[in-house]
């Protein structure tokens, strides 16, 4: 998507357009990301997506007002307490909260990234921004142990179920490959129908309403977008939330992200 955007920007006259092609997956292996108070609420809490929310302020300060579900672990203790965090391979979304989104949060995030965690985020503006947005806080004792139970995202199909459906064609299911045609032409799931996510709403006539639709791409990102678009139109749809790698022999491997 970024090369397309860059191309459009050049077309309308921008002369110094660059593309960071490796993008977020590479960035977040070495650096933290950020999210706003509104994003924390809407992208995680409202959707009930489990996170590891770490409040790195001193315990006595945090007690006076913290975000629901936060675990206390002061910044100076993070590096020594990595073992308290869920295993790396579960890829828990970790969100670090300090007072203003400053160096305490940044240093805590860096310790976690150094320990091998990816997708470590800092709450921009810290608890101050959260309270300025008038979101609720709790007072009293914070949890001291991290309880993280990964949960499938809405519409996510179990990898085993996807494999089962992909291996035997059925009149009741339809798998759609929502990547670009270029990607799909280099290898795809046998029997799938290629409809790039960008075209999905224009090509609904080709998607039967009476079948179980399953969308996949190679990261789960586009497939999830397709899921929301078709769900809203009344389709019975699920999506594969995983990394899928293809070879040109029609073989593929699925890896949980």
């Amino acid at each position: 998507m970024s090369p397309n955007s860059a191309g459009r920007a050049e077309k309308i006259g921008y002369t110094n357009v660059k593309v960071y092609h490796e993008g977020l997956p590479v960035w977040s292996k070495k650096n933290f990301v950020v999210l706003s108070a509104q994003s924390l609420k809407e992208a995680y809490m409202d959707k009930d997506i489990p996170t590891v929310l770490v409040d790195v302020r001193p315990f006595a300060v945090a007690q006076k007002g913290f975000i629901k579900g936060a675990v206390t672990l002061p910044a100076s203790d993070i590096a020594a307490n990595i073992a308290k965090f869920p295993p790396k391979d579960k890829k828990p979304p970790i969100i670090v909260v300090d007072d203003k989104g400053g160096s305490e949060a940044a240093n805590s995030a860096k310790s976690l990234i150094a320990a091998g965690y990816t997708g470590v985020a800092i709450l921009t503006g810290g608890i101050d921004a959260w309270q300025a947005a008038k979101y609720p806080v709790e007072t009293g004792n914070l949890a001291t142990t991290i309880a993280y139970v990964p949960k499938p995202r809405p519409g996510e199909i179990a990898i085993e179920d996807f494999k089962k459906i992909a291996s035997s064609t059925s009149a009741n299911t339809l798998i759609i490959d929502v990547r670009s045609r270029e990607d799909a032409s280099l290898g795809m799931v046998k029997g799938a129908k290629v409809i790039p996510d960008m075209e999905i709403l224009d090509r609904m006539a080709e998607i039967p309403k009476d079948r179980q639709i399953i969308a996949y791409c190679n990261t789960g990102i586009q497939a999830e977008m397709t899921y929301h678009k078709l769900k809203e139109k009344g389709y019975n749809i699920k999506f594969l939330n995983a990394k899928v790698t293809f070879d040109n022999q029609g073989n593929y491997t699925i890896e949980k992200l």
């Binding site: 998507m1 397309n4 459009r8 920007a9 077309k11 110094n16 960071y20 791409c217 990102i221």
Partner: protein, 214 residues
Amino acid sequence: MLLKRLMNIGSSTVMVFGLVMTFGQAVAQEKAAAPAAPQAKPTIAKLCTNCHQAEPGNLRGNFDGVAYQSESIQIKIDDTAEILKFDPKTLQVKNMQLDPNNPSEPLRAIKKGKEVRVEYTEKNGKKFATLVSEKVAIKVRPEMLMSTADVEKLVAQGQEKGKYLLIDARPAPRFMEGAIPTAINIPFVAFDKMVDKLPKDKSMLIIYYCGGVT
């Protein structure tokens, strides 16, 4: 294998013929009913207008099928279909991966639904294809690429000092889950709608990123 191939050819031929007939019927009906100006068919699919404009003598849409027997191709432009005759001896092809087993019928290598541009001439109201070009994937020129280290350096300086605009082109729900510090979100699909978020100074450094090579 060969049988399968023949069957494929058979079915696509039938399909194209079927539409030739309906197209012919539609023309006949139109002639009979109203001698008024025929309705102009679109020459460019909506999707293609993201980057291209309608051009005389060019069709842009999705490749639907080819019948070498009747020397015709069918192009889908949104909801309408265009049938064009061609001469296999003079037809030019561009940006195509030729099938080494069948180099004399290059159009067979085009996948159904692939975006194509067709150049044509018009004779007696009928379109005759002279060139078929497949859409090529957008390639980023090497000088446009930025490394992680480049972006880290700029982000450490901050937007003011680094004099840049970092743009996350992913869909909003993903941006919200976490983005590179100082980035703003302009999803690719919302490019036009959010064009006012781009800097007024067109020489300013703009960096796009997304979820890697998706």
